[in-house]
Symmetry: C2
Subunit: 318 residues, 2 copies
């Protein structure tokens, strides 16, 4: 049994490299962090909890748990078009191990440096393992992307390829991949080290009418956009970009890929493709937005080569 | 088994009353909340997790769990001198019950209205019960209270009376008090419905040299201030205000009272007392700050009627 305060100190020391900068007035170690917002910007906040045995396998590699929990939360900033700012990390673990905590902190740190986030605070408590990350970013006033702006006539897009995380779930070595397994298998990397599409999201501020990150699965997430925007969509199954080795149902139903799905006016196609090249991630046009409710009572109508097919189900946590 | 999204909707509906206001640009229901910061202010952020069976009894009243989790987190804003802004609530529960969630949300809502916080987002997942609340506030630029400013010659103060929460822990009816038990027993209210000292904290911005909230126990929390400020303290045990019915060890060691402990120059006594009257909470001068390390190697030297006594131990979560 280690000392709680000493363990917090050791984690804070690992993460100190992420907190350098004039925007962190008070970092970890006080009652709260104090942060300088850029003027004329709005604050963007999202929180996500990952639970061992539910959102990732039990007894998984601590560094991967840390990295993935940061990536999942940060993806919500990308979906709002926000620039990354700061994160707090609340860790619950059944027993305190200095070694485990050091590896967890290393994963958090790597993600923070990869995504441009500063880890300014957190909480450590004993209990069944889970990680809750709250991320904070900022957007120029009035420019946040929402789910609610999709308009009839817009095109529906998705970034990257989908189904990689779903494919990884079928891998018996998911919990504790060796470094070489991780480097050899891109689906394992997609599951543990997804890339929040921050640059794409920021670029979409001026172009997209609605955006969401693909966390529950494309089918479910497009429904969220339809509900929020009071529209419906036709989506061509054969246009959905499928991660190498995955099948269509993993691409549309499995979730956890953390790509962005978004809508934009047809006229923006060229701008979008240029933006995608700059952001280093391909985008695919997969469908169209239509007004009102679908005649079949569906928010999203799935078509395969023009034929209506059954909706590929989304992932439910419960 | 209920539907996750429907349950989230029902909680969001209960909390909608808290989110009205021009500062909430995007509230719950999108990928993230978007919030307007007051100009020339700094953002203050803190996160706290409460775990069933560790930080509060198993099978406790859901509304009380909600209220207390908000109060505990908000107390950190008070300790920084911050004005309350927004909260996110991450709830993990083993089974989804609409009735339990409604009562939990009612407790969160009451706390939000009591403290002036808007609940702008959250997360719901299935697993062993815990609640993680992240609170956001703001302070005029450069005016946040820290733990690190205590100076030799300052006086040490604490607000309210301590030991009430420790006293409640000995109560067999702690988990599920009836409304009449809660109204009859002030120690139960102190445990479940502590009052973050927000007004006092904001008033202390211009006066206190250091501040902390009393969460780990007065003895441990004063040590945190000494470490951060590189000073030591003499504290008179008989001056510590003891909650009615509690004993001295509960007042100094038990924690969970969420009063403020702070240091201020001797010359500020009158200003402090006027401030305390306006904030509606008494303050007590309990000791003095001295330079450097104590000759006995202690950060805080406890005296009883002038005689050095053993340090009353702080609470450790592990």
């Amino acid at each position: 049994m280690s000392d709680e305060f000493a363990l917090i100190d050791s984690i804070t020391t690992v993460l100190a490299e992420t907190t350098a900068g004039a925007d962190v007035i008070v970092g970890p170690g006080d009652d709260a962090a104090v942060l300088a917002m850029p003027p004329e910007h709005e604050l963007v906040v999202s929180t996500d909890a990952l639970i061992a045995g539910s959102h990732y396998p039990m007894h998984a590699r601590a560094d991967l748990i840390g990295y993935r929990s940061m990536a999942v939360a940060t993806s919500d900033l990308a979906a709002m078009g926000a620039a990354p700012g700061w994160a707090t990390v609340s860790l619950i673990v059944p027993t305190l191990s200095r070694d485990w905590a050091a590896r967890f902190a290393a994963g958090i740190k790597r993600a923070a440096l990869d995504f441009g986030l500063k880890v300014v605070g957190g909480n450590l408590a004993r209990g069944p393992e889970s990680v809750t990350v709250t991320v904070h970013g900022h957007v120029p006033r009035g420019q946040a992307l929402r789910r609610s702006g999709a308009k009839a006539g817009d095109c529906v897009y998705v970034s990257g390829a989908l189904g990689g995380a779903g494919l990884a779930l079928a891998n018996a070595g998911l919990a504790t991949p060796s470094p070489s397994a991780l480097s050899a298998d891109s689906s394992l990397r997609r599951y543990w080290q997804p890339t929040p599409r921050l640059e794409l999201g920021m670029g979409l501020r001026a172009v997209a009418t609605a955006a969401i990150d693909v966390s529950d699965g494309l089918a479910a997430d497009l429904e969220h956009v339809c509900k929020a925007s009071a529209v419906c969509m036709d989506v061509e199954l054969q246009r959905v970009p499928v991660f190498q080795g995955a099948v269509a149902l993993q691409a549309t139903g499995a979730g956890d890929d953390y790509e962005l799905a978004f809508t934009a006016p047809t006229a923006c196609e060229e701008r979008l493709q240029a933006l995608a090249r700059r952001a280093g991630v391909p985008i695919s046009r997969i469908g169209n937005v239509r007004a009102g409710a679908s005649p079949r009572g569906r928010l999203v109508t799935w078509l395969n080569e023009g034929i209506v097919v059954q909706a590929p189900a989304g992932y439910r946590h419960f």
